[in-house]
Symmetry: C2
Subunit: 201 residues, 2 copies
């Protein structure tokens, strides 16, 4: 144990299994938020979690494996969307939820990592967004559109699978191209001027 | 002049101004297509254009400057879209044109470079797509939607600026997420199941 390995007064703490894993994941997310992807090291995360590097390497064989798990398990789930009585309101709530997932600590870290990492890692971390946000969002959109058909405020032929791409595509495009943060007003505008006309009877 | 500098029998050719510049840009595009962004060198491009490195550095201070110009001047312009009698047909033609721009040698090179380069360069080369394709496409979409309003097959309140984001956003999203190549049938499906319902009276 050396001074450079753990911050002063932060001696290693004996923990096992899930508790140690949790401490490592939390330390890694914190490091991502402070030093970013390129400067993050297994040593730094171990120090932050008050453990040794070996404890990390027993679980993750590389920094990329560790970070992929931090990001995917850190993204809050979208959950269910209750029936608010109209497809307009249901889709609005879903979009607010999507925006909030990207504003969570793991979501912010994911955006930052994607801005910083090389193309090979970017491919892998984009899969985290696909599996953790866009994929689940598309399933939910399908559910909400089907609910609208039953309710009667969605046209019965709104069955094409591309319908569920529009919201994730706009989220990605406007964030990249216009730097949009998807404030509530912009979400409402998108639902009212694009989605409702596209889906209505 | 050394054997390693120019291929055998390909001695430097005396050209000036536009002719030399054209030869350099062509050689750079060819190199992008064969060796890619990371392996492209100013020496290699100079050899391909049968000139010296100094001729390149007089015009472009870095490989990134040269490549940005190759890509932006190489993308075919979208041009105008004639009136085909319906917003459906006009938008379809525009999308085919957009797809063809990305299939041009410069468009293919641009996609390949973006898959390969680091985030700082990616930012710069994405601007090439924005200025050379997405920006002009959004202006054209606005024109075609306005034409539809005058014709009477577009609702008069289809004025929200986000309407012009949908097509570029879907092109980007489905290319990235599903690896879509936007075959004609997929373009038709997108227009018929998303754009026409969104815009109709």
């Amino acid at each position: 144990m050396t001074g450079s390995r753990w911050p002063q007064g932060a001696a290693p703490v004996r923990r096992r299994g899930p508790a140690l894993e949790r401490a490592i994941l939390d330390a890694a997310l914190e490091q991502l938020g402070t030093v970013g992807w390129n400067a993050l090291t297994m040593e730094g995360v171990a120090a932050g979690a008050r453990t040794g590097k070996a404890a990390l390497y027993r679980r993750w064989s590389s920094k990329a494996d560790l970070v992929a798990e931090v990001l995917s398990e850190g993204l809050p789930p979208l959950g269910e969307i209750a029936d608010h009585g109209s497809v307009r309101e249901d889709l609005y709530r879903l979009c607010v939820r999507m925006r909030d997932v990207m504003r969570s600590p793991a979501g912010e870290a994911l955006s930052a990592v994607l801005h910083e990492c090389d193309p090979t890692h970017a491919y892998r971390f984009r899969e985290v967004i696909r599996d953790g946000l866009h994929g689940p969002a598309q399933l939910l959109i399908r559910t909400l559109v089907d609910r609208g058909m039953e309710r009667g405020d969605v046209r019965p032929d709104a069955t094409n699978e591309m319908i569920t791409d529009v919201i994730p595509a706009l989220f990605m495009y406007r964030a990249k191209v216009c730097g949009s943060e998807w404030l509530d007003g912009e979400i409402a505008e998108m639902i009212d001027s694009l989605m409702v006309p596209m889906l209505r009877m």
